[in-house]
């Protein structure tokens, strides 16, 4: 165990602090994952990447900063940004999921082409995974990809596609080998959302906003070289991507930031003239959550140390999505409780992101969105299957005796 701030770390801390002091005016108010980056966000992202405060460990040749992974450096940067209240780098499916997947299994050409614009926020990705008949049973995807010359021709439908309405690109799971068993017939393709034959229809969620979409494909032609790994390897690639998604959803720094925001809220909210932070029953709810967040913070540092050493954390890694999303939901639930009745005014204008300028509205939207995170990316129940089977070695539920001819 070595968490000491050696000179190297103290120097980084000073460097980050002076960067923030000099540039805080350029920080956007928030870098949501629910909207297309505007010019201010893109300029900020470029600045962060150039200085190594985003894409820090992405190799230089792909446009990153090229630092070797260091848990402490990442923690120092996250903490200084959080303390100063300036926006950290963009969190998106492209940056958090596709880029590590390309680094793990992409070809050199694919990495060179896609990583740089993605980490700069210029190319926005959406994830073409779920279908009406393939949710928790993701390997049941039926969207077809048929090879025609040097293109795959894609037909079918995707659903729950976040940010498809403004994304530039999609990473898509489709069935290219219909004669092979379910898990071996899938391929993982990259395609432009500008390709003819794609129709995006917004899907309004309980937040009142259309952050999701349905996406329809009619004879959409995708260059055959835009496949990751080979034909039929899509399930392998998808699981690599999902591994990173689950890590992203468990990011502890975000939760620690929330604890501090809720504490500030409790210091200014009063009932019968008394601050909530001074009421033991309110304070205890928050301090208890702080303990959970601390556990996840140090757990994350442990996992990052494992990753840097090339050790598979096994169970430790598998619990991150379930732990993080359930805890995040409890945190936003506490925030909306602190606002109480005074925070119930809710007007989520659909155009752009107003509504979120009102903090109580934003917390309510987060609270509902957090429930979406519990359901999406492999629901909590699917996570529990994965944890018990792969982490604890418990047997799979026996398959019901359904005739082989029945599909679905």
């Amino acid at each position: 165990m070595d968490l000491s701030y050696s000179d190297k770390y103290r120097a980084l801390q000073d460097e980050v602090r002076s960067f923030i002091a000099a540039n805080r005016e350029a920080s956007p108010s928030a870098v949501g994952i629910r909207r297309k980056p505007d010019a201010k966000i893109l300029a900020w992202q470029r600045l962060l990447v150039e200085n190594g405060y985003a894409a820090r460990t992405i190799p230089k040749k792909y446009g990153g900063f090229g630092a070797s992974p260091d848990v402490m450096e990442a923690a120092i940067i996250a903490e200084e940004f959080s303390k100063a209240g300036v926006a950290s780098g963009i969190m998106s499916q492209g940056i958090s999921m596709l880029v590590p997947t390309l680094l793990e299994v992409g070809t050199e050409e694919q990495r060179e082409r896609w990583i740089r614009p993605t980490i700069l926020g210029e190319t926005v990705w959406c994830q073409g995974y779920s279908e009406p008949g393939a949710g928790s049973d993701l390997a049941n995807v039926q969207t077809k990809g048929v090879l025609d010359g040097d293109h795959f021709v894609v037909n079918g439908q995707k659903i729950w596609t976040s940010s498809a309405h403004y994304a530039d690109m999609m990473f898509l799971l489709c069935r290219t080998e219909p004669d092979k068993p379910k898990h071996q017939g899938i391929s993982y393709l990259l395609l432009s959302m500008q390709t003819p034959g794609i129709e995006v229809r917004p899907l309004r969620t309980m937040t009142g906003k259309a952050t999701f979409n349905e996406v329809f494909f009619t004879d959409v032609r995708v260059p055959a070289h835009q496949i990751i790994m080979g034909r039929g390897d899509g399930w392998t690639v998808a699981n690599i991507t999902l591994k990173y998604e689950r890590m992203m959803l468990g990011d502890a720094n975000k939760f620690m930031h929330r604890v501090h925001r809720i504490r500030a809220l409790m210091e200014t909210t009063r009932i019968d003239g008394e601050r909530l932070i001074d009421k033991p029953e309110w304070r205890d709810r928050l301090i208890r959550l702080q303990g959970e967040v601390m556990a996840s913070k140090y757990h994350q540092m442990r996992l990052l140390t494992d990753a840097a050493k090339g050790v598979d954390s096994g169970l430790g890694r598998l619990v991150v999505k379930l732990y993080g999303t359930e805890m995040g939901y409890r945190l936003s639930a506490l925030a909306v409780d602190v606002y109480g009745a005074a925070g119930l005014a809710y007007d989520p204008h659909d155009e752009g992101q107003p509504g979120e300028d009102d903090p109580a509205t934003a917390w309510h939207a987060d609270h509902m969105y957090d429930l979406g995170l519990i359901i999406g990316g492999g629901s909590s129940q699917i996570q529990k299957n994965i944890i018990s089977e792969r982490g604890l070695g418990m047997p799979r539920e026996p398959k019901p005796a359904i005739p082989a001819s029945t599909k679905g």
Partner: protein, 364 residues
Amino acid sequence: MEFALTDEQRMLDDSLRGYLARALPLEDLKTLARTAGGLAEDYRRALSEMGLPGLMIPAEHGGSGLGLLDAAVAAEALGYHAVPFAFAGPGVMAPIAVQAMANAAQQGEWLPKMASGEMRVAVAFAGGTGQTGTADASLSDGELTGRVEGILDVTGATHVLVVLPDGRAALAAIDAPGVSAKLKPTLDRTRPLADISFAGARVDVLDASNDAVAATRRVRDAGRVMLAADTLGAAQAMLDKAVAYAKERIQFGRPIASFQAVKHMAAETATELEPCRALVWFAAHAHDAIPEEAHVAACHAKAHLAEVGRHVQTTTTEMHGGMGFTELMGLELWFKRISLDRHALGGPERCRHEAAVAQGWVSA
């Protein structure tokens, strides 16, 4: 930067667990718990030879000079095997208290004896921990009067060190005139608690600390981290047993481990428990290396492990069905161990309150 155990710490863990798995089979443990007399002499000698009493004592006094993270590794292993061995007091809190509060002559006299196991010092707090029960003692002219209830690790102790509210401490031989120690049958049969009354007992006074309040807090924090580590080990043992049992137990023609209702209980439990390990490691490490974060981390570790421990003891007992409710499996030994850890040295509500005060969220 590295958030992991060192090779030496892993070796300590392996050798302790290896020995305990071999030397303390369940039937022996159940017998020891029934007699409630603490660990048989040969086990205690073996654990002493493995260096537990001197773990935290500097090398110049005959110990190993290791830190609280090493001690946490040991405490987790002891909790995992529910070992009736007095470690948190004599092995951890007492060495820290003596080094922080005793003068050089006292340290020179006591520490080598503590390292060899000749002197085994239980630690009592005359208030300040939030533990329920009487905790009241006062010192006058080198004589201690009062009563402290619910003291850990008095089994086999030669001395008791009473940490006083003013930051001094008083050391008395357990059989000294005016000291009346009574071990009581306790919920956790592997670690009986004791009540001790002092009636003008002659004591050695430890008053050499230059920051007495900080010193007592450090002793208390270390004890709390040890109890958190003990819960971590005990809870992990309960989960491992429950998963193993579910894989063997057949109902409706298949192992109950194949039912989602059972799998999901296990998965929820594992998800709560697994991140606890890093919190305990951090709290222990901070005690030695990051003093400004140590107190809050110790409070959180104690409180969080108490809550997760409650969840684990509940779900894993349920997973054993009716067998979990009996004494046959011995599972109750671990259940009760977690219960003791929760209440000793302050329950979770108290520890969270201290964490809030320490962060300035509220005034004391």
